[in-house]
Point group: C2
Chain length 210, copies 2
Amino acid sequence: MSTSYAGCSISIVNGSPMALTILALLHYKPLHPYGVQRLIQQWGKDHVVNVNQRASLYRTMERLRAEGLIAVRETSRDQAYPERTVYEITEAGQAVARQWITVMLGVPKPEFPEFPAALSNLLLLTPQDFLATLDRRLAALQERVDALDESLSREAGLGLPRIAMLESEYLRAVTAAEAQWVRSIADDLRDNRLPWDAETLAAFAEDQAP
Amino acid sequence: MSTSYAGCSISIVNGSPMALTILALLHYKPLHPYGVQRLIQQWGKDHVVNVNQRASLYRTMERLRAEGLIAVRETSRDQAYPERTVYEITEAGQAVARQWITVMLGVPKPEFPEFPAALSNLLLLTPQDFLATLDRRLAALQERVDALDESLSREAGLGLPRIAMLESEYLRAVTAAEAQWVRSIADDLRDNRLPWDAETLAAFAEDQAP
DNA sequence: CGTAACTAGTTGACATGGGACTAGTCCCGA
DNA sequence: TCGGGACTAGTCCCATGTCAACTAGTTACG
């Protein structure tokens, strides 16, 4: 499951938050899938990895095993509990994890979030509806920022070093920026600094694609 | 394909950038799938909707048709070209589009981008590697901001009203915020304001999960 | 003692994204 | 005039991710 280009063999499996986090946790100690889930929740990382739906978790770990990045250490049956398969990371897994994290950090991935897509189809709404909706979003964003601030100061209170909180710091920064932008647009709209001429737009559309 | 709660029937199909954009374009005029793709590219919206892979486009339109949000207007065969199926929006489609856009604007969707996930597993890297990687990301982000600035000023030059450029404005704002954060972290790291004590972290991990 | 919540893992349906492939048409230059 | 490259239009497969439900045993609580 790997191709080689010019002698440099690269793994085909592409990184994902889920897969990287699993490798990182197994780097720390061998675990069974459910243990991975609990650790992620315990360390409060469930804001960066979607681990609430276990389906992806089990599927991803099976995939990593098939690729040889992790290996079964033991399958222990604790009384009548379902069988737990404990995995450990392989050397290949350690190398790939380092490779993935480098790419994920260094290359911003083009993503297609819903909000800008909705923004580009504003003509379907009235300015009044738009304004009300922006206010709803703003409130939700503000809540998120507050929650991040709280968890940041809680973790700082525990004496955690700053590098251990960078992901929350980052999320806080971009969420706050989004909130600020939304607020400025809402203000412009309220004060009539954002002319809403549906006709001009329609005319442009006619022009461009007859 | 719809459930009703307390008499208020809501559609099961959940919105997506792709689906909303299709409905919006068909609201403007009937089109066949390939025409939708061209129109999106022509209007420069391919930064907010991933339309380069046609597979999703055809699948989504088939789904919308099955749900009754769009309908086949005609299937015309232009000489020896493959058969083109032209779709038009239905009344249900218009209502659902308005509903979707309200939700997509008003409710920030929890997303799990790669960057924070990678940030939370920094221990796999050396500070030197991390710094080099941040610089790569910063350069890429700066390029994006420049490209957005350029397209904004080009569109403004054409006389397009500001509401027609909100999505680029938004992307510019959040991308610039991300770039600024990355730069500040890189600077802190360079000036040793970001202590990198792997041992302290490991000790914490031991404490929390024995 | 019963029921609710937790532990663990599984399954199926469905959506998205990337890449490749077919197959015909049109244009441009050697 | 012939061949290559670009465009038109649609299809298929694979990998991955998300949601929701289902099983089935365990612990806790009233």
